[in-house]
Symmetry: D3
Subunit: 226 residues, 6 copies
Amino acid sequence: MTRRLIVINPNSTERVTQDISVAVEPLRNSNLDIDCQTLAAGPGGILTQRDADLVVGPLIDWAEGEKGNCDAIVVACYSDPGVHSLREMLGVPVFGAAQATLGYVGAMGCKAGVISLRSASVARHNAAAGAAGLTGILAGDRTADVSVADLGDDGAIDKLLRAAHELIDKDGAEVLILGCCGMSRFSRAVASETGIPVLDPSLVAASMAYTAILGRYDTPPRGGRT
Amino acid sequence: MTRRLIVINPNSTERVTQDISVAVEPLRNSNLDIDCQTLAAGPGGILTQRDADLVVGPLIDWAEGEKGNCDAIVVACYSDPGVHSLREMLGVPVFGAAQATLGYVGAMGCKAGVISLRSASVARHNAAAGAAGLTGILAGDRTADVSVADLGDDGAIDKLLRAAHELIDKDGAEVLILGCCGMSRFSRAVASETGIPVLDPSLVAASMAYTAILGRYDTPPRGGRT
Amino acid sequence: MTRRLIVINPNSTERVTQDISVAVEPLRNSNLDIDCQTLAAGPGGILTQRDADLVVGPLIDWAEGEKGNCDAIVVACYSDPGVHSLREMLGVPVFGAAQATLGYVGAMGCKAGVISLRSASVARHNAAAGAAGLTGILAGDRTADVSVADLGDDGAIDKLLRAAHELIDKDGAEVLILGCCGMSRFSRAVASETGIPVLDPSLVAASMAYTAILGRYDTPPRGGRT
Amino acid sequence: MTRRLIVINPNSTERVTQDISVAVEPLRNSNLDIDCQTLAAGPGGILTQRDADLVVGPLIDWAEGEKGNCDAIVVACYSDPGVHSLREMLGVPVFGAAQATLGYVGAMGCKAGVISLRSASVARHNAAAGAAGLTGILAGDRTADVSVADLGDDGAIDKLLRAAHELIDKDGAEVLILGCCGMSRFSRAVASETGIPVLDPSLVAASMAYTAILGRYDTPPRGGRT
Amino acid sequence: MTRRLIVINPNSTERVTQDISVAVEPLRNSNLDIDCQTLAAGPGGILTQRDADLVVGPLIDWAEGEKGNCDAIVVACYSDPGVHSLREMLGVPVFGAAQATLGYVGAMGCKAGVISLRSASVARHNAAAGAAGLTGILAGDRTADVSVADLGDDGAIDKLLRAAHELIDKDGAEVLILGCCGMSRFSRAVASETGIPVLDPSLVAASMAYTAILGRYDTPPRGGRT
Amino acid sequence: MTRRLIVINPNSTERVTQDISVAVEPLRNSNLDIDCQTLAAGPGGILTQRDADLVVGPLIDWAEGEKGNCDAIVVACYSDPGVHSLREMLGVPVFGAAQATLGYVGAMGCKAGVISLRSASVARHNAAAGAAGLTGILAGDRTADVSVADLGDDGAIDKLLRAAHELIDKDGAEVLILGCCGMSRFSRAVASETGIPVLDPSLVAASMAYTAILGRYDTPPRGGRT
């Protein structure tokens, strides 16, 4: 039986969705259909808290339409917008790019450095790690100071590398996380320049969602202690 | 000069807004006008993550209308919906009921027990404490298993007290936090029955907002490290 | 191109290897060959620290023979024996059952309860979580008080369930982890009785190893800060 | 009814008490009398652990004289001398400058940088944060390398600013805390130069004490778990 | 050369000093003279924060008299009164009973349960552990609900054992700490009844002070980062 | 009665054993015989995880031969190989160099900087601190980039000092730990150059083992919670 995983890009930039689709390509197999969709109602990029908060409404609307239509969902944005709400409304597993990748680093037994778009993201990322009890696996979080639009320009690689090297040299990062799903296209270049693994959150989250499908690890009902 | 603090109740239940207004009453003085408003577009109560997420849009719309019109804002809901977004869009201080109260407990040098509406809230509260780096001040979080509607019924006090006593006896709580702004009316009764302080998040958050007005502690721009 | 993942059961009990093979079966596909092997030189079960320590030598010898012969390795034992040494000696990704599962729980945004064989395992598990910076995701760890041999007996389910219910009711566990790869056969029964996901460490670790193969996330060289 | 809050400066330097009185001035209103007193028996400044320890005796003696005479007390010194003892002996709320300010930062959802007088204070501040479970909200603590006497000299501002900029640039501080109540007079200048809020511990602690008066949050009896 | 270690009992109860002297007896050897003294100016027992704070003055006075007269000092009280001040004023090593014992448990790789006199001590002990960064080694802290005077009565053993068994059974304590130096005489009985080690803080702290003498580990000057 | 403590150097380099014997010399007295042995079957130095893992087998064999023959054992290697296994198989106290020294720093109320041989050791050290719940006492861990063989060369002191000064100046270390027992011979020089205590793990661990002999603190049986 073929299972269906939807990877939703909550921003409306098609190029990012295409990059995500390339990133998860290796995971596709005869039993797993991965459908990468663009949230048409989303903003061009999710840079601010407001972007992250306001996109949840459209995401929920979108998810209503996919109810009963998929076996798991990945929200492919490093701000994990709407992940808890989608878990609550759907029985199927839901994974967010950031939470999934931080957990994966824990599984590797490493400390991670996160490359962020803007310095404003750093506090948001740290809060998300704290919320998930994963602060202990963060070596550092540094900004490349680029916009989502800049990521379409090949020159962005130099800014990403500068942040990468500081994370490795000053913060002791053993692996790197691309702190925006739109950075996907630079993962090989950063890995090759730094010599350490560069985790692509879209692929990692999609893989974990696939695991949940295979293991029937549906979203647990909240509230174990009654 | 009179300063203006708005306390917004993000659910649409007027009774809750009235209770909040009573709770913050002592803080009003000749220099401080506290305006307690009900978010008409909000849900009847904020019980689920979806409630908390979807109310942010209406909150932001509401805040646009108050721009330049107030000196600080308190979101009087223990799920702190939209707090980060409001901070981002407004220059003025913004405080959320939960974060403010947890910080206040830290200032008291105590460990707190939180009385929650539903067991589903417990994980959300713990995540919020982790996000703020305040996990260390929580003694426990236990559910009274009541709805927002139940809070209008005087019989709810017994359920709150059962949770309160377990927090004190089993978890070592030194102060109690009412984990829903609609529980405000029971604060005196719970304090008197348990003999320890029972913090009312609306009052605590409003006081902290007032402090920020006095000290000109505007919301800091995100991203100190550039 | 077909990739090859070896799952090594470091104890010599064939039945456990067969159960592991059943557990990872859903992950097999036309591009991924999963070879579950039994470490003939291992002990019957890994219950003590001595068992966990002494099996590393045979594991390393075994891994020497597989060098260049596989794309990733999973050590399917909740004590993660030899994982760091194998990472050091091999370029390919190596995942251990415990570390992988704890990280996966972090990715789910949950708190986990671990069902252990013996009370002696609890301290070892807590130390492992601390070493990986993952203490924050543990709700509790309780012993079922069974031996590896007992796990062959269907009556063991009652003991596992007793631990499971205490983890849920007293510790607030939202998902359960089977703290021994030999408990795999009970995962469906425990999930169905408790109504929450029961993670099978063999499947979770194998999935993460597969992700690493797909993403080319080789083991990072130790020592980022020079 | 007018309530009475006493802010006690535990060092004997009148200039510091005057600065504190200016700092808390905005909080005064028709219902709140704030009486800033100098502890005549205190040392000229509290720089060492010995200073902090030996001042507790005179503070307790002083507090005996104020028993029944006030509604709350603030110890306006960033070493929080005697705070726990005063809480124990008095029914009324007692707040210390450091603990209050750290909690306030948690309420703001920020990470704070502390500007200390001397490097010897740093370890003491970190220990105090750890004792209160507030380590998670500290971004850093750096010394301006000034004495209490230096603070009377306008040239001290440059040293404070140097520490401030390092806290922001290297440690990621989002708000700053003046780690000595005698630094109060520089708060506006540091805020204006750095562009981020600079918390004045005297004002913050006094505001929190006022909240406790309003909410009747008396000091809880120690020992919830019996 | 004979070295001289002074163990100061900061309460004035001679019986406690005698018990401490018996506890440290095994450490005495031809090169080490251990002088157990009673602080005549101390209170009968140190039960409250006020007791702990007010005894620092007399302790400092006493220490002035011993300056140049000893090679190390142990403050034999589980509230560690004055330890930081004595470190500051003396070049020689100074160890406190609580901090030393918590560190020793960390060295054993265990989690400890603390038996406290009164429930009021529990919060103080937790704060002390947090201040030293040692929260992670505490399994629990439970009160035996006895006074220092009660400790002279053999019947106290039952109360200590009740706390001990709860620490083991409910909190997972692997070793026990006597949370008052006056409990010393019961250490063998509690160890024999529970079957796990019962640490005597006086002996542990004295041994660590001896280590510091041998290794010339004088109190470090505060303020490494300048 | 003379007690017998064995300090086992798990590497086969005799020079290191001799240095260790010199380091623990001050602890020897008429009641304590300290026997420093070299593990003939060990590697020349323990630099890698593989070294640390593979030496456990020979260590266990060696310990079998010493059963009933000693009152306590110290494993004098900063990777603490086999410590948990030896604890499990022997009733007597067993201390490892790293765990003991980290606990000792906690007892001193300080933050420590660790000087490591190679950058590959840093992650291993951090994991060990996390496993023991002692992360909170680490200021930093920096590599001197030397081999065990280099330690025989007096020129190594410069590399150690460079790491030492960075730990003090950048990480705020108040005491230093020699992160390899073979660095023992440089302890005085580093202490004298930096002006802060330099802890020798062999001496610290041996002293703690002696304490355990005196207090009869045998290794606790694992598994308090049944």
